[in-house]
C-alpha cells in the first residue's frame, strides 16, 4: 500500500520537477502560468547562487553571465552536492578551455580542484590530500598548492624571469 503510494508520488514529482527544469512542456491540466513562473524562478535562483559562489565569473562576464550560463548549463541537471560550486566550475572550465582567463579566476579554479573532485558525474568534496599547479598569465607566475585534510592549503609561487633575445 505505502510502496504503491510512494511509487506514484515519485513518478508525479519527478515529472513535475523534470518539466520545471527544462522549462516545459508542462503536463496537460497543469497550472501552466504557475509552472512557467516557477521554471523561471528556479533558473534565476540557480544563476544567482552560482554568481554568489563565483564572483570571479561575474567580474569576467558581467551581464553576459546569464547568457553564458544558459549556453553551458542547459540540460545539465542540478548537482545534489554543492550545485553553485559545480555550476561555476563548469562555466569557468569552459571559459578556460576557450582562451586566456584572468588570474583570479584561474586561482579560483585551482582552489576548487584542491577541495573537490569529479565523482559519479558531479563535483564531490575531497577527503584526501590534493596538489595542483597553475600558470597565471597576467602576473607571469607559476603557483603550486598543497591541501592536506584538516589544514589550510599551502601554496608557493615563482615569477618567471623576463626572457628577451640576447643583444649581440
Amino acid at each position: 500500500m505505502m510502496g504503491a503510494a510512494r511509487s506514484r508520488l515519485a513518478s508525479m514529482e519527478a515529472e513535475f520537477l523534470r518539466s520545471l527544469a527544462s522549462g516545459g512542456p508542462f503536463a496537460a491540466g497543469s497550472d501552466r502560468r504557475g509552472m512557467q513562473a516557477t521554471a523561471q524562478l528556479l533558473w534565476a535562483k540557480r544563476v544567482r547562487t552560482m554568481a554568489r559562489a563565483w564572483p570571479e565569473l561575474a567580474a569576467v562576464l558581467g551581464t553576459g553571465l546569464v547568457e553564458r550560463a544558459a549556453e553551458v548549463l542547459a540540460g545539465t541537471p542540478l548537482s545534489s552536492g554543492d550545485h553553485a560550486v559545480q555550476d561555476g566550475f563548469i562555466v569557468a572550465s569552459q571559459l578556460e578551455a576557450a582562451g586566456p582567463i584572468p588570474d583570479g579566476l584561474r586561482l579560483k579554479l585551482l582552489a576548487t580542484k584542491l577541495h573537490h573532485r569529479w565523482k559519479q558525474g558531479q563535483l564531490a568534496h575531497r577527503t584526501g590530500p590534493a596538489v595542483g599547479c597553475t600558470y597565471l598569465r597576467q602576473s607571469r607566475r607559476f603557483v603550486c598548492a598543497l591541501r592536506l585534510p584538516g589544514f589550510q592549503p599551502l601554496s608557493v609561487s615563482a615569477r618567471l624571469p623576463d626572457v628577451s633575445p640576447m643583444a649581440r
Binding site: M2, A5, R6, S7, R8, L9, A10, M12, E13, A14, F16, L17, R18, L20, A21, G29, S30, D31, G34, M35, A37, T38, L41, L42, K45, R46, T49, P77, L78, S79, S80, H83
Partner: protein, 278 residues
Amino acid sequence: MMVSLGLGIGWRPELALAIERREALGFIEVTAENVQLDDIPPALTRMVTRGVPVIVHGLSLSLGGAERPDPRRLDHLARVAERLCARLVSEHLAFVRADDMEAGHLLPVPRTREALEVIVDNVAWARRLLPFPLALENIATLVEWPGAEMDEASFLAELLGRTDTGLLFDVSNMYANARNAGWDPVSALARLPLDRLAYVHIAGGAMRDDLYHDTHAHPVGAGPLAFLEELCSRIEPPGVMLERDDAFPRGDELGAELEAIRQAIARGAARRMGSPTT
C-alpha cells in the same frame, strides 16, 4: 508548545555584525545546510555563548518527497542543533528532489490523501531519528498541483496532528500564495492548528509579472505585516522572526524592520485583549 522567544532574526553571515550588536534579541534561527561542523563562524559561537536561544532550520530533508529523508541529512541537522544548543529544529512541507534531480528550491507537494500518507510516514521517520522537537513550515509557491483534495491550511493541520509536530507558520508565504491564487488568508487562519504554533516567519517580497514573489530581499511590506497583526489578534505567537536572504540592509534599516514587526505584533495583541494600540 514552547516558552516565549520574542522577536528574532534569521542568522546570516552578512548580518552577523548587525545581529551581534542587537542587545534585545529574542532568538536566532540558523540554517543547518550553511553550517560546517568543523568550521562554525566565531560570530555564531558568540551568540550561543551569550545565551541567545537558537532554532536550527533545515532546507534539504525533502519531507514531502517520495523517499524517506536521508539519515545523513537528519544526522547533520541533529549535530548542528546539538552544537548550537538549539531548542527546536524546523523544516518545510516541501520536496526538493526527485528521481536523482535536485530542484535547488522548495517545491509544493500534491495535496492528496495518498501523498499525505507518504508525508506522514516521512515526518514520523524524521522524528524518530531527530532527538529534538520538530516544527514544519508552510512554503510559498507560484504553482499549484491539479486535483488538490484539501486546501493548504487543512492539509497542514492534518499532517501536524498526525505527526505531533509543531507549526512554523510563515505568514509571508501564506500571504503570497493567497494573493497569487486569489483566496483569503485570514479565513485560512481558522483552519490552521494555531495551538501547535512554535514560531512565525515573516519576510519581504515584491511584485513581478503580476505575481507576488516572497523574495526575502525586500523590506517587509504592509500586506504581510497586516496578516501578522491578524494572527496576533487571535493568538500570542511564541516567537516571530524576520528572514532576510539578499540585498542585506544596514543595521539601522534592519532595526527599523524589526520595529515594524514589533508594532504589528503589538497591534494584534491589543486587538486580542480588547485594548487600544499603544
